[in-house]
Symmetry: C2
Subunit: 263 residues, 2 copies
DNA sequence: CAGAATTCTCGTAGGGTATACGAGAATTCG
DNA sequence: CGAATTCTCGTATACCCTACGAGAATTCTG
């Protein structure tokens, strides 16, 4: 993973960058430089962010280093620091950008009627996002970029749950529980593919390589439950399918539980 | 996050290291060198692993580099490679060690009667493990060390669910869903504290620093649900408490859902 | 008891990372 | 045409992992 994240420097500057393409009440020239004297920039923030995403998609997050990205853009490494204060900030911008790519209906836009269908949509879009951008799984979400993309996602999920009549605090709590589950599972799924790509070995092949375990080290007496499941064909052959099934199952059960408390 | 993990080299050698302290049917001297000619080792694997855990606990995973660990042990960096084939293998050993520290009753040992209480115990022990070893949150779990510690955890959880009479495949699926939820949440909790430690700033302070967001950029029309929750006091002041509540809530709902399908 | 065999020890070297600093180049304003 | 402004980017630093191979320590063999 990544080590430390997110600008400790000036939150104002960070927020201004995140919201750079949104008009807001106090719209001053905090980001848009008034074009006057001075050398003309050869790039702009959006180009840098987009190129960063592209590079991370194609070659992995590690390849999207400041040096690598600069080479891709045909400029010197330090030139990037004209557009972005640090690598961490750049990552924030990349993340909020792709968070905003999810196609989630905003307020007033048409959406599924059933609340579960609405949550389902959030789940699908989020998983698809992780699939498009596997590197997301390597980025910490503890202090997320507080930009338009992230807020749109939270807004959508909360609006889906509001209809349940759960009370403000419980609604928020439920939304958090759902995002924890969905985002974590989607992240694990993406990470799994990343590992397959990086090692050139499927996860199934990896497990198979460890067959020795069962023959040599596995002690049936110490593991009766696993043995029982095994003999009852409780293990799926495909790691991937097992993960997908367990995701489906867990989300359905979680929503069942939430629905029940709402009655 | 960490980049790539887990020995692609020889699974046999890896397994032998992981199970080094367990007697097994085919017990040969694959690990224990027959003590004969040759210089005496100044360390052993367990010491290296233990020192690695200690160092990662105290100074963070980054500080537990091969160089740093060697300095701590008073040997040259390359000396460590006598005991452990690579840094990734060492990490596997550290992880399985702490997985095994969880106090989960084995087969035949006394345990809570209620299955939910048993799952609860798994949850408590796992969260406590992450709290003792915050660096676990930075380690990928996609290809876990297939050692005694990991197997004991899976065995316990499966045994807790077997009593529900769910059928082998569904039991396994449910167990996977539970570990995904519990492990992910515990990992996020630990990561959160790690970030606080690394930045010297509490997460609450971090959010507070972004108060500008609400005044300057937040658009009420685009975020009616968030606004509603806000006005109904649906947001908790403490990030940490909010996370804990949502964890509790989500786990309870998940177990509710599982219980219902079992009827 | 000497040399051979074996095993552990560890310095060096190489290719990777983010970014502080400051000099130089390009552009426009007065 | 200078001065002011802004963008460009080479250099230098301090880390990371580990392949390689020479040297040190110990015991076995005769």
């Amino acid at each position: 993973m990544s080590e430390r994240r997110s600008g400790e420097g000036q939150p104002d500057k960070t927020l201004a960058l995140l919201w750079r393409n949104h008009r807001h009440p106090m719209a001053d020239e905090s980001v848009d430089r008034k074009r006057g004297a001075g050398r003309r920039p050869s790039l702009n923030v959006d180009e840098v962010v987009q190129a960063g995403i592209q590079l991370a998609d194609d070659q992995g997050l590690a390849a999207a280093s400041m040096g690598g990205l600069a080479k891709e853009l045909g400029v010197g490494t330090m030139t990037l620091y004209t557009y972005v204060p640090s690598k961490d900030e750049l990552l924030d911008l990349m993340v909020d950008q792709v968070l905003g790519e999810r196609e989630l209906p905003g307020p007033g836009e048409p959406r599924p009627e059933d609340w579960r269908e609405q949550v389902e949509l959030y789940s699908r879009q989020t998983r698809a996002m992780f699939q498009r951008h596997l590197w997301l799984s390597q980025v910490s979400t503890i202090r997320p970029p507080v930009g338009p993309g992230m807020l749109a996602g939270r807004e959508y999920l909360l609006s889906a749950l509001l209809g349940l009549g759960l009370g403000a605090l419980e609604t928020n709590t439920a939304a958090l529980a759902i995002t924890t589950y969905v985002d974590s599972a989607a992240s694990l799924e993406a990470e799994s593919q990343l590992v397959e790509r990086a090692t050139g070995q499927s996860n199934d092949a990896w497990w198979y390589e460890r067959n020795d375990l069962w023959e040599t080290y596995f002690d049936v007496d110490r593991h009766p439950a696993m043995t029982t499941i095994w003999h009852a064909d409780g293990y799926q052959s495909s790691t991937r399918e097992a993960a997908a099934d367990s995701y489906r199952y867990g989300l359905d059960r979680l929503l069942d539980g939430i629905e029940n408390t709402a009655l």
